[in-house]
Amino acid sequence: MSLLKPSWQAVLAIVLCLIAVALGAMSKPEAAALVDPTASINYPYLGTKGLMLGLAVVAALISMVRIPSVAEAGVLFIGAHLVAWLLISGIAGFEGTALAPYFLLLTAAWLLGWRCVAVLSGLRPMAGWVRTALRLVIPAIFGAWILIIWEAVTRGAGIPFILLPPPSAIGVRIANSLPVLGADVRQTIFKAVLFGYVVGSGAGFITAILADRVPFLRRGLLPIGNMVSALPIIGVAPIMVMWFGFDWQSKAAVVIIMTFFPMLVNTVAGLAASGHMERDLMRTYASGYWPTLIKLRLPAAAPFIFNALKINSTLALIGAIVAEFFGTPVVGMGFRISTEVGRMNIDMVWAEIAVAALAGSVFYGVVALVERAVTFWHPSVRGG
């Protein structure tokens, strides 16, 4: 059994570090200083260049020695993130001056991070809490590297702020604008989205039951419902603003229209989902329409209904934000996005996007959790 267990990520990281050393200067000021040593000694990575390269190479080498996986992941984690941190903090003040070795070193660090996640994914821990922790840590490292690369590339290459601000700037903007963001969330999510979502989904559900109960509705309404659900409903937003005014009520109306049809169509499909045998069974008990609906057909329809609720959770957010483009009081996420774009405050736009993404994920996650609790019996939830 060999003492080494090479991984392509570590090998490639070492190769990239060596190329970086061969290429020399990490940034334009450093290149200038090399050409003319007397001119200036102020350039990035004055003292840390060797440290970063050494760290990356040493971490890569240690990771290839046959040591316990946990230790390997730890070494890689520290190495990759320390290099990334040195790299990003060192470029401060010299944004846009990075040369190829900067990006090579970034790639090497990223490869070490990749290897770290790969090692962690391969762990098969016994204890339940370790498994839970791993389930959180692995996507966290993954997500962190998206932000690290975004930050390092935007700052190293000096991408114009208006095109893509670095995440740190967005984070600072979020931290500094909490009251404004809070007011926008209150206006858009707690008023328009929640109200529209509850009323739209509820109305779709009740209409589906009515259509199931009343044949003429089933035959007349459902084909029209299917047609309407294919329309770009967001187009009615300006009309809703004219009907219901500038405040959140018109946005809630758009959300109601957007969420109504997915719920209607899914519930109708779900009500047809119970098996013939089960329905015959209820018939042998001389069970009436309502007992059969409550005891058999609605539970069987639950996976469909939750599907609609999940679809609607994202549709509602989109609907409310876009509807605000067509006229609002001076508050709301859609209003903020449309006005701050006009004022070139792109970091504020991104801040709103981040908040909307967070709110949308939480919304979706809550619905999915409730779904797991209610449809625990479904093969897709109980797993087999």
């Binding site: 045998m277 209820m282 018939r283 042998t284 008990y285 539970p299 093969p379 109980r382």
Partner: protein
Amino acid sequence: MTGMSPAVVAASKLGLTFQTNDGPVQALSNVDLTIGKGEFVSFIGPSGCGKTTLLRVIADLEKPTSGTISVNGMTAEQAREKRAYGYVFQAAALFPWRTIERNVALPLEIMGLSRAEQAERIKRTLELVNLSGFEKKYPWQLSGGMQQRASIARALAFDADLLLMDEPFGALDEIVRDHLNEQLLQLWARTNKTICFVTHSIPEAVYLSTRIVVMSPRPGRVSDIIESTLPRERPLDIRETPEFLAIAARVRDGLRAGHSYDD
């Protein structure tokens, strides 16, 4: 024996024609049958002979297009509305979102029984099918045989005198099936219910029944009715006795006479 006891099921000149896209299909034709109280009647025949359809007509899940049917002296529909029978399907058809206990309680809930009464009946019927201790399990946590036993318990829970069983053990392996057949006979002896049992297994039909109705297809009709001479007490090894084999041979002949193996 049939003549003595009051008829639980009486069919006369029963016919059922399904209208399909390929034209009318005659599922039942001219079926005359009387089933007395406490009988165990098996319906046997190849697929498409209408044995399941006949059971569904008795259960008022299908309406006959000719002839008459009465169940407990009422029309089939009245009997269904009075919950005159328990029906066991080919699959267990348990609701996966309910525990075994709540599945058995399903008909009792629909009938509006009190919680205490429900609990008492659940306990009693689960004991009857040897499922005590599995009350809180979900159907998907049990084996196929246990699921089918739970579905029998559900059919027994509301104490109907008539039990209609549509190939209840058809999907189970032979070992489980033998075991359940034995238990079913014990259950029948204890409860004195009338049982109509659809099967396509000759040994199963002979082992269980007091009377075997042999059916033949196209159109579905009764081609022979065989009275069993076996005693009511039947250990599993009765299936090796000459008497048993003789009845099985008669059933086989009856199936052949119905030209059911022609195609």
